[in-house]
């Protein structure tokens, strides 16, 4: 499944009300490490299709949601389960680091 793009408007519907856990990548065009991590995010979206929804939110275009979750660094990855944030990773990290969190969340 491809990466979905979420906005302040559809965040509740696409992320908080999702039936399966969601990984949201908060990013911006001017952030180099966000670019660096992009292919990893795309691979994860494919590999965990059906089990984990993978979304991206542009923090420049959507000021409300990042503020709500206290984001002061990007890339930040927040994992949501049943409408609640359950884990968070800050900065560009290796795929294996992200996968270890995903595996824990999917149980």
């Amino acid at each position: 499944m491809a990466v979905c793009h979420v906005t302040d408007q559809d965040f509740e519907e696409k992320v908080l009300k999702s039936d399966i856990p969601v990984l949201v990548d908060f990013w911006a065009a001017w952030c180099g490490p966000c670019r660096a991590i992009a292919p990893v995010i795309e691979e994860l979206a494919e590999e965990y299709a059906g089990k984990l929804k993978v979304c991206k939110m542009n923090v420049d275009e959507n000021p409300v949601t990042p503020g709500k979750f206290g984001i002061r660094a990007i890339p930040t990855l927040i994992f949501f389960k049943n409408g609640q944030p359950v884990d968070q990773i800050t900065g560009a990290v290796a795929k294996s680091t992200i996968e270890s969190v995903i595996k824990r969340i999917l149980g």
């Binding site: 001017w30 180099g32 990893v40 206290g70 002061r72 890339p75």
Partner: protein, 307 residues
């Protein structure tokens, strides 16, 4: 039987990409392994103004896009992965990737670069992403009209302090010495910038705050005086450490972990080369990393041809 590459390059920053360019032009069957997308530390550099050929300067990511476009012209073969183990002694080198996959190559160039040092003080880990940052270009815009501290006195610290003045109302530059190590041109700009306030001879002892950074506890090294400085963000640029943990015990390094080579990028082991910031050397710039990469690929070609 798995494919055997002539050359495996570990790391896709300026050193690794330049090595790939030279190896591909030498028609070596080459693969580059990178754990993120190519670019390395340059991706966090807001503006590069000391790479020859670009007199106007350009954003770090843009320069790296040009490096990648260049190798793509030569049929760039890359693998998204993280090398966790190596067997380097025989004629055939074995690279073990996270996830269990293995790659075989006759020669290896290690170009894994470096990552920012941590201060190692209370509050730093807890508040990373909540006001503690190692990347001004990533996180600077979150501190519009706020007060931030930059820790360090080298090129990166001063350049990033200057970058942060675009957003922050006030930037404190906290440095442990009484003068900067940064290049003179950067010093001149920093001293002329009314938003930058220097705090000399001072170290950060603790980063304060619960949900987000609220301040730093600092100590003057000369007088011993301890005080609290209220800030909304702390940007830490106190040098780098090599990303060389995976060669520990396999290759000689200096006391800080930088891989020791001769001036032709050869390590102690035949067919194993190191290039760029991961190598023990004095000058770590994009141009010197690229130079290392070219030399390493050239020497790998010679090694493989038995010359």
């Amino acid at each position: 039987m798995a494919e055997i590459y002539d050359l495996a390059i570990i790391g896709g920053g300026p050193a690794g990409l330049t090595a790939y360019l030279y190896a591909a032009r030498a028609r070596l069957n080459t693969i580059l392994i990178e754990k993120l997308s190519p670019g390395g530390q340059v991706l966090v550099t807001d503006f590069v103004e000391n790479y020859p050929g670009f007199p106007e300067g350009l954003p770090g990511w843009e320069l790296m896009e040009k490096f990648v476009a260049h190798v793509k012209k030569l049929g760039f073969k890359q693998k998204l992965g993280e090398v966790t183990g190596l067997e380097l002694n025989g004629e055939l080198k074995r690279l073990k990737l996270a996830g269990g996959e293995e790659l075989l190559a006759r020669a290896v160039i290690i170009a894994t670069g470096a990552s920012p040092n941590k201060l190692g003080v209370p509050g730093e880990k807890e508040l990373t992403g909540k006001g503690v940052s190692y990347c001004a270009t990533c996180d600077g815009p979150f501190f519009r009209d706020q007060t931030v501290a930059v820790v360090g006195g080298g090129n990166t610290a001063v350049q990033e302090a200057l970058f942060l003045t675009r957003f922050a109302e006030k930037v404190f530059l906290i440095h442990r010495r009484d003068q900067l190590r940064a290049q003179k041109i950067l010093q001149e700009r920093a001293f002329a910038n009314p938003k930058i306030h220097f705090i000399w001879n001072t170290v950060v002892e603790e980063i304060l705050g619960q949900e987000k950074v609220e301040g730093v506890r600092i100590k003057n090294r000369k007088t011993g005086e301890i005080s609290t400085l209220p800030v909304d963000g702390v940007f830490i640029f106190i040098g780098i450490r090599p990303q060389s943990d995976f060669v520990k015990g396999l290759l000689p390094t200096d006391e800080r972990g930088f891989i020791i080579t001769d001036c032709e990028m050869r390590t102690e082991l035949p067919g194993v080369f190191a290039a760029g910031d991961v190598r023990a050397k004095a000058c770590r710039q994009i141009i010197t990393a690229a130079g290392d990469g070219a030399t390493a690929a050239y020497m790998a070609e010679h090694y493989l041809s038995g010359a």
